[in-house]
């Protein structure tokens, strides 16, 4: 079975999605930027990039009809999903950043890095090493310790993700940098800014059988 070439990148009006689209466009796929839920109906793969605040992001997703469409396409129909940065955090029940409910596909709540004496600076910006658990097709091509580029203040706790974490990063606290469950994959880092390691991950996601 060949991989579906139709890739939808969700635009909810707040995030700069250009870099992600540029990166995906290097591969032999048809990338469509989808600014409302109806556009997801024939997508073979769905990518949700995101930066900005959790509540505003969830509101953007709801107002544009993405929430229902995601539920239908990703949860019910099993279309492969890749969440990037905030697109990972949306998967949880909620976030310490706000009061909006998340998608709730993964139990637990996104937390803020502790700040203050002796703690590394927040936000966590820059390259950091991720311990790869190469148990999945997506992570298998990567070395056991691969550097990726991060920009974030909130993180998915390992306590909620121990069973599904495929990448772990240490920034004062050890946190979940990548996770996978069935057709859902998500990364806290930015593969589109992480040189060849990031491009390898995107390539693998796009080639996997849906």
């Amino acid at each position: 079975m060949s991989a579906d070439r139709r890739v939808a990148v969700i635009d909810y009006g707040l995030a700069n999605i250009r870099s992600v689209v540029n990166a995906l466009n290097c591969f032999d796929v048809d990338v469509t930027v989808v600014d409302n839920g109806a556009g997801l109906s024939d997508a073979g793969r769905i990518v949700l990039p995101g930066v900005g605040s959790f509540d505003a992001g969830m509101r953007g997703l709801r107002e544009r009809g993405h929430l229902e469409a995601l539920q239908r396409r990703v949860m019910a129909a099993g279309v492969p999903y890749l969440g990037i940065c905030l697109g990972m955090q949306f998967l949880f029940d909620g976030s310490a950043e706000g009061s909006a409910a998340g998608l709730g596909w993964v139990k637990g709540k996104v937390k803020r890095f502790p700040s203050g004496n002796g703690q590394p600076k927040v936000p966590h910006v820059g390259w950091n090493e991720v311990e790869i658990r190469p148990s999945t097709e997506l992570m298998a091509p990567l070395e056991s310790r691969t550097d990726f580029y991060f920009v974030h203040s909130y993180y998915a706790p390992l306590a909620d993700t121990e069973a599904i974490a495929t990448g772990i990063c240490d920034y004062g606290v050890r946190f979940c940098a990548a996770l996978e469950r069935d057709n859902i994959a998500a990364v806290q880092f930015h593969p589109e800014k992480s040189q060849l390691g990031g491009m390898k991950l995107l390539e693998t996601f796009l080639q996997a059988d849906g």
Binding site: S19, N22, G126, W127, T146, Y149, E192, Q195, L196, M199
Partner: protein
């Protein structure tokens, strides 16, 4: 607990009237061609970031420069810092729209320091790189003065005091150059780099004067810089960024791994001679 931060290797491109140039003491010396060729040549997938600065005398080449930034963002999958002629948020927006992850401000911030906070508030601290061009001046408390307008205009500000103020106002990083060292192949001005790196808690990127890979190591070891940047040296050496990175690693500096992953990117924009 402390976190080991890896030292970044940054390639910088200076764009003058639409072309990439090499400079010496802040004056363009020779044209090295298009930004895209330069990037395809030194990319090698090992640089950790790219900084591209517009250094033309006037603003006539703005549209061409934004096209260059956009072109770079289609083929470089690393954080991209863009600077030159930023006086207000409108230009910051234009650069981020074109693909910048961060912007570098210099002269306008010296004239109106509040600009740093304005950018930080709208785009986040991590987006603001304050670029400081310094020159030795014995009358300044730190021995260095910050100079505006590509080295043409003394600001009257002490370079160290300015770095501290910039950090306080919300700068995420400082890009530091010394005018006499620029393009002079003596390595960084290590006294200056150490002076500023020790004074602020935000990362300092050393820039200007690199002629061999040991200069990069010195920037970190003796200058205490968090990241090291170079421009001229990368243009004429094949696989130069890879060699630079390997040299830093061999010297014992923690750097990002340079594993080469084979990735088929059939539609990545490629070099088109024009």
């Amino acid at each position: 607990m402390s976190v080991v931060q890896k030292h970044r290797l940054i390639a910088s491109l200076l764009v003058y009237n639409g072309d990439v140039v090499q400079t010496r003491r802040f004056r363009p010396t020779n044209n090295v061609g298009s930004a895209f060729t330069a990037v395809d040549f030194f990319n090698g997938w090992t640089v950790d970031e790219i900084i591209v600065l517009e250094i033309s005398k006037d603003d006539e080449h703005r549209a061409r420069f934004e096209e260059i930034v956009e072109g770079l963002s289609r083929r470089c999958f690393v954080p991209l810092t863009v600077g030159g002629k930023i006086r207000d948020l409108e230009r910051v927006r234009a650069y981020t729209r074109a693909g910048a992850d961060k912007v570098a401000v210099n002269t306008a911030a010296l004239e109106r320091p509040a600009l740093i906070g304005e950018i930080a508030e709208r785009f986040g601290n991590q987006c603001v790189v304050v670029s400081i061009d310094a020159r030795r001046n014995a009358e300044m408390p730190s021995g260095y003065e910050a100079v505006a307008d590509r080295g043409r205009q003394p600001s009257g500000r002490d370079a160290r005091a300015w770095a501290e103020e910039a950090a306080r106002l919300g700068a995420g990083e400082i890009l530091l150059n010394e005018i006499e060292h620029d393009g002079d192949k003596r390595g960084y001005d290590l006294d200056l780099v150490r002076l500023i790196s020790d004074a602020v808690s935000i990362p300092v990127i050393a820039f200007g004067g690199v002629a061999n890979w040991d200069h990069l190591v010195e920037g970190v070891r003796r200058g205490h810089a968090h990241a090291v940047a170079a421009g001229n040296i990368f243009h004429y050496t094949e696989h130069s960024t890879k060699k630079a990175k390997e040299h830093m690693a061999a010297a014992g500096l923690p750097v990002r791994g340079t594993t080469f992953y084979k990735v088929a990117m059939p539609r990545r924009p490629s070099y088109r001679p024009f």
